[in-house]
Symmetry: C2
Subunit: 207 residues, 2 copies
């Protein structure tokens, strides 16, 4: 049984993994719950509670062995191997991702597609933009790949339909507009406009 | 008293507002709870419950007047007027935002700053990149502005410290690494890497 079953816990574990990855890269061997709490936006008590699912780790005062804890968290999250990313959209945002990658995530963009034939053949990062018709040629299909939508505003539903039509069941949508997918498809978003709304609300609440 | 007090409700109201904005732009006068539910990732029952706080609206069967409901939601969210955005970072992601704006959000980037003097003076969208030292010259200070961090990986804490130092209390961080801010500052994130982790977890859970 996977003990990390709520989205809130999974999200925090993802934060801890990112923080631990940076610590390991900096040569830090042992981290405390306080070390993880602040940057991950939680309390040290909450860190200890979350990490108590890992048994041995989490003894008060002794600190966590960073590298071992990172490996265990990645196993619980099921992210020891990250799936390749297939990017739909070779406009400004799409190209920024193809060129810059996903910082800190350990994910790699495998291919970039666009419905616009004027963009196909152009470079995007180290890749060449291909037409979405060529999604049919992806070896092994899209089921074990994550599709990222970063298309012209108003075209996200079309991009989602294309991905789902080619068997993709895991989609990250960077467009802001509403998108519907079948029930067996997981669609997540990074919602810049909604985060700005929540910041504005908090700003007004402070007055 | 503001009846929309939980983050989950605020988030859904933000989604409804975006969906209603598109409907109004498309000339649609009346929307049903079903119309809002699918694209906003919730159920029509949940839509009706959320919108019941608006009293008159939400009568079963009659539909909601799109424009009036949109105005009411914006008032409850406190987003009838959106604060200007101050962008820190004129790299790929920062320039993409300065050029493309925030789709669907009604937010405008007012100024772009970078700590790198090689980037200051360059165009970014219709703006000119300024050095972060010039944040001191922003009329009225940063308290009523939202700061967006889109800097080189590893430099987000520095950018946050600069914003906070100039009085900013509302920050959206697009970088992935952990960032600490004082308690009276609201920091939100769009977490591409974490969303990918959660998609990967769901993908593995399906197997």
């Amino acid at each position: 049984m996977n003990p990390a079953n709520s989205e809130a816990v999974l999200r925090r574990l993802s934060h801890y993994a990112r923080c631990l990855g940076l610590a390991v890269a900096d040569g830090i061997d042992t981290v405390t719950s306080e070390y993880l709490a602040g940057p991950c936006g939680t309390t040290s008590a909450s860190v200890r509670k979350d990490l108590s699912i890992f048994g041995e780790f989490g003894k008060r005062g002794s600190g966590y062995p960073a590298r071992d804890l990172l490996r265990e968290i990645r196993e619980v999250l099921g992210i020891t191997e990250t799936p390749p990313l297939v990017l739909i959209g070779a406009g400004r945002v799409g190209r920024a991702i193809a060129e810059g990658g996903i910082p800190g995530g350990g994910y790699t963009v495998e291919a970039v597609f666009d419905t616009d034939r004027e963009l196909t053949g152009l470079p995007a990062g180290g890749l060449i933009v291909r037409h979405t018709d060529e999604l049919a040629g992806m070896e092994g299909g899209l089921e074990d790949r994550i599709g990222i939508i970063a298309v012209t505003p108003g075209r996200a539903q079309e991009a989602a339909d294309i991905l789902v039509g080619f068997g993709c069941r895991s989609i990250l949508c960077l467009n802001m507009e509403p998108v519907s997918v079948p029930e067996d498809v997981t669609l997540r978003r990074t919602e810049m406009a909604t985060e700005l709304d929540l910041l504005t609300h908090a700003m007004n609440s402070r007055r």
